[in-house]
Symmetry: C2
């Protein structure tokens, strides 16, 4: 099993505070020792950092904590390996291009006996159940339109049907982004918080650090944070319902049902 | 215009020494100020680092210089922007998956009036001539076999024909790797060196640093370095012929003609 973290905002925001707490779970406050990764969307481009060392000890994780990269969308993952060896090729998030956009994916849960069903164009590089499901999902999305991004509602319906089917193999807690939206599907554990004015102080659950967001924001800023478990202990997080697929854009929850 | 660097070895090797000199050209000893990137293949997996800051000043470049990642294949690029703004989406190397392998690409030169000719599956994310050519090349390679890696000779012939055609638009100095081979095509500026036993001391051209490779290697190690211009001033580099496409595997030059 693993832990997931995502951020979706209406203004470029750094994730240093949330990642500081999240990275503690990679070997200090929790047992997710088997590598980690993070992807940052800056406009339509995306850059990622991966390491097979525990997040709490990785020099690359230290860089990410110390170097404030401002992004509209971020997806991070820390791993406790179950299916697939501890190797870079099995280290999430996974990234593929579709419709001239980067698509970034992270998955928490085991998909027992999951088999990759498409032959191409997206194919797994590693040996994890998670990446096989990602490639199948991308190939399903591509069927909607092989060249251009279709309507959001079509994308939503495709991800919803895929998630419901894939959850039959086990646990499918999913984070997916194309740099504009965050799609988040919950089988067992996901929660979110939307921070907006009036901003207040937040205190990490995993490390004794607080931040007063009112000192770092403007009145119009909106920031949604999605995580496996709440990252702060003095804010109200909303727990996903089982089987729910939520879509965030510009730090807001969209209504697509 | 830009500068290119690649490494291809028969044993996992760090590129810290070569990258130390190369990064100086990103704002100190040369004028390549418009971002940089590097991709490391560790077995079949690949991880990359990109920044829009000059390589000589980037905190991420400092990490890469200080954190010895051992890899079989590495491709790096420093940019002086001509076509496409200084943005992350135009920062090389570019990466795409094909046949369940990561393909990493870096290009030096301008391709005036180059138009992306395929519609999919590989599509450009940014606005550079370089990425448009990369996507076209991948789509050509995919035509050889949509699912599985074909014979090396077929891949070589495809890249050779594509490079010759693309060079009609301008300068097409190319580095390409799937984690096993480095393909290097020269229109104007590329050179290489193969280091093997007996190893000796090398001194950087761009910074007063030397290394005695005999202290860091075994008798069987072979390391090929390919670069726009020689990185050391006391070794014999071989200059590519114009129009030449060379392929390196396990630190050796293959004969495919």
């Amino acid at each position: 099993m693993c832990q997931l973290l995502a951020m979706n905002c209406n203004t470029p925001t750094d994730i240093c505070f949330s990642f500081e707490g999240f990275a503690q779970r990679g070997g200090l406050t929790d047992e997710h020792n088997d590598g980690w990764g993070i992807s940052f969307f800056e406009e339509s481009a995306c850059r990622s950092f991966h390491d097979t060392l525990p997040a709490a000890k990785s020099p690359i994780a230290k860089l990410v904590k110390d170097y404030p990269i401002k992004a509209f969308n971020v997806i991070a993952h820390i791993r406790m390996a179950t299916i697939g060896a501890v190797e870079l090729k099995n280290t999430q998030p996974y990234i593929r291009e579709l419709w001239g956009q980067q698509w970034v994916y992270a998955h928490n849960g085991d998909l027992w006996d999951y088999k990759f069903t498409h032959s191409s164009p997206a194919q797994p590089i590693g040996t994890s159940d998670s990446e096989a499901a990602f490639c199948d999902l991308l190939n399903e999305l591509r069927k909607l339109n092989p060249v251009e991004e279709p309507e959001l509602k079509q994308i939503y319906n495709c991800i919803k049907a895929f998630s419901e089917n894939t959850a039959k193999f086990g646990t499918f807690n999913l984070l997916l982004s194309n740099g504009k939206y965050i799609f988040a599907h919950c089988t067992t554990d996901l929660c979110y918080i939307i921070r907006k004015a009036p901003f207040s102080e937040a205190h990490l659950s995993d490390k004794d650090i607080s931040i007063n967001f009112s000192e770092h924001t403007t009145q119009k800023d909106r920031v949604a944070i999605i995580a496996t478990k709440p990252l702060t202990d003095n804010e109200q997080w909303t727990v996903f319902e089982k089987g729910q697929l939520l879509v965030f854009e510009n730090g807001e929850l969209l209504d697509l049902d």
